[in-house]
């Protein structure tokens, strides 16, 4: 077995690196830049039942070592994703994790049921944490009971394992993690973005038309690392960690605090080749650390 291969519920990963949802579209643009079969997996853009246009622009604003976004779940809708985007991705030898979003349980269930039957969708990522839409699931992301129930409802209809994506905008992320574990989640992905705002110096108004947006990038990495460390010690679920990953050292850090794989979001905008670059530098990193297989890193900071 390769030194980088990793097995997670539903996922046989060549390596534990995958682009994060919303930062990679449905892969087409990056497919023009490199062979997507190199990736461990792909987390595709949030899919809702109906077509969504999303928020007015500006939708992004830069901040110190980070950025805000309020795209607003723009996506072509379940039908088109099933008919066009997923089939296109079949040309690559890479498992797809479908990010499922909605406004109420019924939406989530409908999308989960359908999309989980696509041949290349090997897992779902339940997006209960998108801060950028009025009715976009944030209520599911902050109340443990609601989260547990939604997880259970989706689990019931899904043909593939279900990962739940947690929001960092909560008092206790451990409570949320335990709730979705109780609801039957197969894994956790974390963290989604922190809610933030930036004003335009010239006008005094928020830059982002939606006023607030989700903060991502290197700025949030310390918060993400802390939360993954907490959750990995409080639940038995495998974690796909994310938040500010830009290089192989960041991957080592997320694994060290207990993640089993790592997603890369914002860094794809800074360097579109970041995912293959990280993958190519991982073995050297393992040599440096004197580690045979990457899975040995998982949780090592708790043992030290």
């Amino acid at each position: 077995m390769s030194r980088l291969a990793m097995e997670l519920p539903g996922l046989q990963l060549k390596n534990p690196i995958m682009p994060a949802s919303g930062c990679f579209g449905f892969g087409k643009e990056f497919g023009g830049l490199y062979d997507l079969s190199q990736l461990g997996a792909i987390m595709i853009k949030a899919t809702t039942e109906e077509t969504r246009y999303g928020n007015p622009t500006p939708r992004v604003a830069e901040t110190a070592s980070g950025m805000l976004n309020a795209i607003g779940l723009q996506n072509p809708g379940l039908e088109k994703v099933m008919a066009e985007e997923l089939p296109w991705l079949e040309r690559y030898d890479v498992p797809i994790i479908a990010n499922v979003a909605g406004s109420e349980t019924a939406d989530y269930v409908a999308v989960a049921k359908a999309i989980s039957t696509a041949p290349n969708v090997h897992a779902l990522e339940l997006n209960i944490s998108c801060p950028n839409v009025k009715c976009g699931g944030i209520q599911f992301g902050t109340d443990p009971d609601t989260a547990r129930e939604l997880t259970a409802a989706v689990k019931e209809v899904s043909s593939v394992p279900v990962y739940v994506k947690l929001s960092p905008n909560v008092t206790s992320i451990v409570d949320m993690a335990k709730a979705v574990e109780a609801g039957g989640a197969d894994g956790i992905t974390m963290i989604n973005t922190l809610i933030g705002m930036r004003l335009d110096a010239k006008t005094g108004r928020p830059i982002i038309a939606n006023r607030t947006g989700g903060l991502s990038g290197p700025a949030v990495k310390p918060v993400a690392i802390r939360m993954v460390a907490e959750v990995s010690q409080a639940t038995n679920l495998p974690i796909i960690g994310m938040g500010g990953v830009t290089n192989a050292q960041d991957v080592v850090d997320f694994l060290s605090v207990g993640a089993s794989a790592v997603a890369v979001g914002t860094a794809n905008f800074v360097d579109p080749f970041v995912c293959p670059n990280i993958i190519n530098s991982l073995e050297e990193k393992l040599d440096e650390l004197g580690v045979d297989h990457i899975s040995e890193l998982i949780g090592r900071s708790h043992r030290l």
Binding site: K28, T51, T57, S65, M67, N69, I71, F269, V270, F273
Partner: protein
């Protein structure tokens, strides 16, 4: 093809108040297909600033493998960029987007190139290519004031060049539309790039003409993946949209709703 190139700074100088001319050398040059395309520049290797900056390609020199960027350093990222020195290398992603169609104007016809402020740069390469093809180019360029006017000689060398400044310190006082009002309308095509109110006014004034408009929007990825830069299209049948970065930045006049 879009490539990531560590381009060498061949020359970097200030040419007007806060306006810089940056000449870069690298193989990215060979990938450029039309005037009006842009590059996405990482101004430093640090996380602050984090995102790339979209800058139009103002001039292409294929023989030397060089491109020229003209940019205004008034924000954080362009400020950092303006301090980079000759010999340094800069991480550039590009060429991005679809530029102005030079084939839309025939040799012998007249084209109006209307630019405002930092919308002027892409029109320079456009004019070079149009005039080379035998199109007569008329340049109408608007600026805030005389001290931020740039490249007027370069444009003048290619064709009639009219300058407007808001405060009247150079050329016509007022906006490009004040110049346009006094010019004949017997041209074939217009090409424009600049601030949104200007684009609107130009599109309105020349509503019956064939024209091409280059837009700006805040960007994340620059390659069409993040949906940061969408604009609604005029065709509102099913709320359709375009991405400025990958579908544009240049669109036929009337397509994008402004």
């Amino acid at each position: 093809m879009i490539i990531q190139d560590r381009m060498e700074i061949v020359e970097h100088k200030q040419i007007a108040r806060a306006i810089f001319e940056l000449t870069l050398r690298g193989k990215l040059t060979g990938e450029i297909t039309s005037p009006g395309q842009f590059v996405h520049v990482r101004v430093s290797d640090s996380f602050d600033p984090l995102l790339r900056r979209p800058i139009s390609i103002a001039k292409v020199d294929r023989d030397k493998q060089e491109i020229t960027l003209l940019y205004r350093a008034d924000g954080h990222g362009t400020g950092v960029l303006s301090k980079r020195i000759t010999g340094d290398t800069v991480d550039v992603l590009g060429p991005l987007g679809n530029g102005f169609p030079i084939e839309a104007t025939e040799a012998g016809e007249t084209a109006y190139l209307i630019g405002g402020g930092i919308g002027v740069p892409p029109l320079y390469e456009l004019s070079r290519q149009l005039t080379a093809k035998g199109v007569k180019c008329v340049h109408i360029l608007g600026f805030e004031s005389e001290d931020v006017v740039f490249y007027q000689e370069q444009f003048a060398a290619l064709g009639d060049t009219h300058i407007a400044t808001v405060d009247g310190t150079e050329g016509t006082k007022g906006f490009v539309t004040h110049v346009m009002d006094k010019l004949p309308t017997d041209f074939a095509t217009f090409y424009t790039c600049g601030p949104m109110p200007m684009l609107k006014a130009v599109q309105q004034a020349y509503a019956d003409k064939k024209g091409y408009v280059s837009f700006e929007e805040r960007m994340g990825c620059g390659i069409g993946a993040c949906f940061a830069c969408v604009c609604e299209t005029k065709d509102q049948s099913e709320r359709s949209y375009v991405k400025i970065c990958s579908d544009g930045p240049v669109f036929e006049a009337g397509v994008v709703s402004i």
